[in-house]
Point group: C2
Chain length 364, copies 2
Amino acid sequence: MSAFSGNLRIDLAALAENYRLLDRLSAEGCETAAAVKADAYGTGAGPAAKALYEAGCRTFFVATPEEGVRLRGDLSGPAMIAILHGYAPEDEKHFARSRLTPVLNSLEQIRAYASDSKPGHAKPAILHFDTGMNRLGLGAAEVESLSKNKTLLEGLKIEMIMSHFISAEERQNPHNEEQAKRFTKIAQDYPGVRRSLCNSSAIFGDKGWHGDLTRPGMALYGLNPTPEKKNPMRRVVSLDAPVLQIKTARLGETAGYNATYRFDKETRLAIVGVGYADGLLRTLGNKAVLYWRGHALPIRGRVSMDLIICDLSSVPESQIPGPGDRLEVLGENQDADALAKAAGTIGYEILTSLGQRYKRIYVP
Amino acid sequence: MSAFSGNLRIDLAALAENYRLLDRLSAEGCETAAAVKADAYGTGAGPAAKALYEAGCRTFFVATPEEGVRLRGDLSGPAMIAILHGYAPEDEKHFARSRLTPVLNSLEQIRAYASDSKPGHAKPAILHFDTGMNRLGLGAAEVESLSKNKTLLEGLKIEMIMSHFISAEERQNPHNEEQAKRFTKIAQDYPGVRRSLCNSSAIFGDKGWHGDLTRPGMALYGLNPTPEKKNPMRRVVSLDAPVLQIKTARLGETAGYNATYRFDKETRLAIVGVGYADGLLRTLGNKAVLYWRGHALPIRGRVSMDLIICDLSSVPESQIPGPGDRLEVLGENQDADALAKAAGTIGYEILTSLGQRYKRIYVP
């Protein structure tokens, strides 16, 4: 790596601690799984899953079979790897070879998956019921069909049934109770089968929702699952970016493409080697700040592909950074949720947008 | 790859054709370089640079030394690789081993780079003058210092001088002429040295700006360098995403997280395996469309990390897609500029955000 790389630090101890905190918060007898899809929310699925495994996690959720195949290679011991996108016959070899468990989202997926089961060798599966998202999962009509025709499940071993909240981070939102009720009603048709309903935020909701397995994602990676309260999680992701050049803009001059910021006084600037190709979303232009020794440095003008322009006015002359110094993008002064707020998005998108040019440092 | 992967197609023949078109548009005797930074604007620096090399390109611009080192490994013949972020002593080994040419942006970078030059072995460099961006490059005061103290350049072979337009895509913007004038004035101090001022859009501007070398980026990758006119470039990037499930929402139900869209009639939906972790920016939620056989399918509700919900109302019942069918994200109905418009950003950010989970297909 070079003097011009941003450093992306992933604190695996904090990740493990977050896992243990969420596990302690879960109801008695409830297992805590981990969502490690999308490269573990941008943090790196391999190192993250290994750390989570060491912390005791034995069930992992990813989106696609490819993610599952890679994850199986990363894990050294027994674990369930669940594929949220479900099952397609073209992917049979991935499921078989890497022992992946599909989350079956439709009657069609159930039929396809069950079609080649062999007597005495029930195939493991999770059933996903859509209780209000209108995204993946069996809808009301399919739930009813399945309930009337349980033979569709012959040859399958239903490891778990699950659903997903649409507004779990809004503690008082009536959607939560409605969805929980619908799920409980459906679950009556599956006596003795494990139940999973809770994402990160829902773990902090009604303990009655916890069921047999929770499956946090964002909170593991340090995002705030209780946005109306102080973040109970430890920060996992830190990012700095290198100062390439210090310069002085004169009164009346402008910053960056299309001159979207005009200096109303002579202004010292740091030109910083990070841009939207690295995941610093363009919406942050003229909106966000970076930090240097606790001083907030506003981004002036547009975010470029590989560069931003930061205003050093808040920094005393004796403390002005120089080329090679590193400014905080994510760290003790600003977490991914805060940067997301400046961008008008959510911390998840900040994390999954983290680019490929950083030096990735995994702190054990 | 699996049934659940999006397919990202990069048309290398179109890329090469775009290069040749831009080269034909350049003034007589003017070389056409290529900006291949940020993984060739998300298209893949290795395959893109090889195709450009075969089309005759011999000068490449990247942002960082690491990008330069990787690119040197990708190229089979002689070429100049210019590093836009400039030079830092820590990276001397990269510059030396991979024969990288720094774009020197400050007196400090000039001094550092020249400091260990050996008599008879002048080190190649490009000088970058900031003519209005207040981003990288020698500012007015540094230009003057350098002009009065040319001994700073001893030991260096100045291959080229360059600057960068801030609003080149706005043909009539007076910034363009101002910057060109400043650059011409500075260039008088460097007689006989090659000059480079033009990015993609500027190539379509005043031929007097072309100088000795143009360095297009976005137009190579099919983005429109003349936003007020029809796009003269060929499309390079196509992207489809798989339908995972077809379902029907009932009147009054909602779509996705936080119920940001409510159905005012029974509505057929396609649940599609692509999300913001794949670069489908969250700002596209309730804004953009995907295409199926020419029919526009609006995204309903928020973009999720791995999924979106598309409205099939415009599709005749006999043509409803099924699981495994692939919807057009980028293609003949919608290019990156159009998708960017829906997201409130520019095509560049669409391209550099293209995710890692796609199956990448390079069409020769």
